[in-house]
């Protein structure tokens, strides 16, 4: 094989690579679009009237996750199964966002932390690398941290909406989550930076609980709204 033939072949594989990336980018864009729609849906929770119809919002979000599944199913056909990490950068951001959204929905429904396996199921992908297109653990954790930050906002806004019991439950929940994260040895990367933010979310929620308790509001039965 001559040198120029070799380079033609190399150029060939480079352009295949670019085509794959282009295909991936397109699917990822539709995923981002769906994710933005789910987000807009769930953002309604924070606003005055929003607290009443949380279950309805969750149900609607669940429907959207159906589209997500289809889009992710399409995504995994775009590249060889054993080259997940070759193209990882393209979808890691949107996947983290979807984890956040799934965790938020599950929390609103059951006040529990969605497991990695459960998210994977919601998204229609694998939890386990060996089995195919999966959810990387760092992406899962990163999404959970975004969700934690949303919880501190939820605590604040539920007080505004007159629901005084929710912040306490959130406090218990986020404390357990914090204990979980403390078990991890993170590298100095973006996950570490986001984990540092968790402390501020915990702090904020603690402040809300404090505000309620010095006013004796923590013992009231929630007067207004709340879906429970």
């Amino acid at each position: 094989m001559s040198v120029s033939e070799m380079f033609i072949a190399l150029q060939g594989s480079l352009s295949v690579d670019q085509d794959v990336r282009e295909e991936i980018r397109k699917v990822v864009q539709t995923l981002e679009q769906t994710a933005r729609e789910i987000l807009t849906l769930l953002q309604g929770v924070h606003q005055g009237a929003g607290f009443q119809d949380i279950p309805k919002k969750c149900q609607k979000a669940r429907e959207h996750f159906g589209s997500v599944k289809t889009q992710l199913a399409s995504l995994k056909t775009k590249f060889p199964a054993d080259q997940y990490y070759r193209f990882h950068e393209h979808w890691r951001f949107v996947l983290q966002r979807l984890v956040f959204l799934a965790a938020f929905v599950v929390y609103l429904e059951t006040e529990t932390l969605v497991t990695r396996e459960a998210v994977a199921e919601i998204l229609g992908i694998e939890a386990d690398r060996e089995k195919g297109f999966h959810l990387d653990i760092e992406d899962y954790l990163s999404g959970i941290l975004t969700f934690a930050s949303e919880l501190s906002r939820l605590a604040v806004n539920s007080v505004t909406a007159g629901d005084y019991s929710r912040p306490l439950r959130i406090s218990t929940f986020i404390n357990e989550l914090d204990s979980g994260f403390r078990l991890l040895n993170l590298k100095n990367d973006s996950l570490r930076k986001r984990y540092d933010g968790l402390k501020y979310d915990v702090k904020k929620i603690e402040e809300v609980v404090y505000d309620l308790s010095i006013r004796g509001l923590n013992k009231e039965t929630s007067s207004a709204g709340g879906e429970k």
Partner: protein, 271 residues
Amino acid sequence: GQRREDKENVTSSSALMISFKSFQLELDTRHDKYERLVKLSRDITIESKRTIFLLHRITSSPNREEILNESEVKLDAVRQKIKQVAQELTGEDMYQFHRAISPGLQEYVEAVSFQYFIKTHSLISAEEINKQLVFTLEEKEETTNTPSSNSHDKQQHTWSLKVTPVDYLLGVADLTGELMRLCISSVGNGDIDTPFELSQFLRQIYDGFTYIGNTGPYEVSKKLYTLKQSLAKVENACYTLKVRGSEIPKHMLADVFSTKADMMDREEGLS
């Protein structure tokens, strides 16, 4: 051509070639040692970082002792690595290899000073750190680990390493970041004494670095900005505690009796 063969007549046994062969050996030996030290330094960094994570898991008295013990075990392991560094540097000018080991030593300073602060609420000195970096052969785990087998006539040997003032300073500068994290966590855990204590302590360190200013090397001055930000975060946390602690909700006195005790408790914490 003929000329090429001439060149071969530069016999490989000429004086020049003999000395260059010795140079080859000398340079390779030096580079190999440097490389081994880089690897040790990476190990030291990683284990020190993990120790710091471990120490952040302290939240209450029950697990406090346990974690402190565990951190001591980890730091002992790090010190064993540092001992290997010290052994590599026996008879050497440590500054020749300083760039290889400096990152690891800084991270160790950070870890050990963090542990020390948690235990004693004070700053470990460079002397104190260096005291722990004097190693003797008598330690039991030595016999198996030493690469050289004839450890017999070396039994009286000791190895030691001193972190430089600059490494110490850089490690302490990073410590402040960990202290800031500890502070924010404390607020989140409802512990309101620690933040005020930490802000006092951090301010002292900050004043110390201010005092040094730009008289140190560039790397030290470079950390000042982050240090200032950490201090600001801690001061803000204390500010928030103070402000909310000052609030007596006059307009809403329900259930005052039952929360009174709790509030008294808090007020004490602030004074």
